[in-house]
Amino acid sequence: MSILQVIVLAVVQGMAELLPVSSSAHVVVAEKLMGLDPSAPEMTLLLVMLHTGTMFAVIVYFWREWRATYFKSAAVFRRAATLVAIATVITGIIGEILSKLIEKFVLHSGPHADVEQLFSHLELIAPALAAAGVLILIAGRREERVPKSDSADGVVGLGVEQAAWIGAIQGLCLPFRGFSRSGATISTGMLAGVARRRAEAFSFALAVVLTHRWWRVRRFDWRKRGTAMQV
């Protein structure tokens, strides 16, 4: 693997992971175009490091805002942590139920039926991308007509119901690649009445929490895409 390939992959990963355009499709295409095997051991280490760099970027970028809002006091932190926990639990429940349903009814519970088998299906990625696009379009247009003040809804900027909605829509992103996580969660927050800046900060706080789960899924996916790696 050349340095140029590493830089190209790093830039594609760093940009596509955080912009609401579905990182999966972009990274997979970049890997294919450069002839890289994502299941190779050195590639796995590289991809882990790229995600570490991206996650550091999220923390550095939002640190000041999180400190001013979520870490303002112990009470506010407890409130923010509760909302993140509620959203994450709902994400996990919906994501797992959907995954099991897909494995049972779409993949018919075969001997190797796993929802990750769907990840490379372009016929499923396309409608997921389109659904995310429509959601972003609706939220963007609605926000233009009815802008929400940044100071509304208390310090954290959202309530339990709004966090639950964001968590629920994030659950859809787990089994369906192409359904952009950041695009869907920020748009849902905006549609639920959360100020756009607060929706963005909350969405990326969820991203930091979700990273571990995401890695478990991705590593499994890479192994399934043809690998001799030892687990």
Binding site: Q13, L46, T54, F56, A126, A130, A132, I136, R141
Partner: protein, 77 residues
């Protein structure tokens, strides 16, 4: 997570584990630095469009990307 992947790489490298890990660590570190700055740039871009009312443009991009992916599928990929 990074340590675990490095260990997996060392195991996969068998007899040449040291050489294999060393040759993978430098590009990985370089990639991490580039991903960090690309991520910062992406977040600045995202925030800028979100705050200036251009969020919907990401939606148009997703729809165009969906059409491209559907086209690839139709072409047999």
């Amino acid at each position: 997570m990074v340590a675990r992947e490095a260990l997996r790489l060392a195991k996969a490298g068998h007899g040449n584990a040291g050489v294999s890990v060393a040759s993978a660590v430098v590009p990985s570190l370089l990639g991490m630095v580039f991903a960090f700055f690309a991520g910062l740039l992406a977040l600045k871009w995202l925030s800028g469009w979100l705050e200036s009312g251009r969020w919907y443009l990401f939606g148009i991009y997703c729809l165009a990307a969906a059409a491209a992916v559907a086209g690839l599928y139709g072409a047999g990929y």
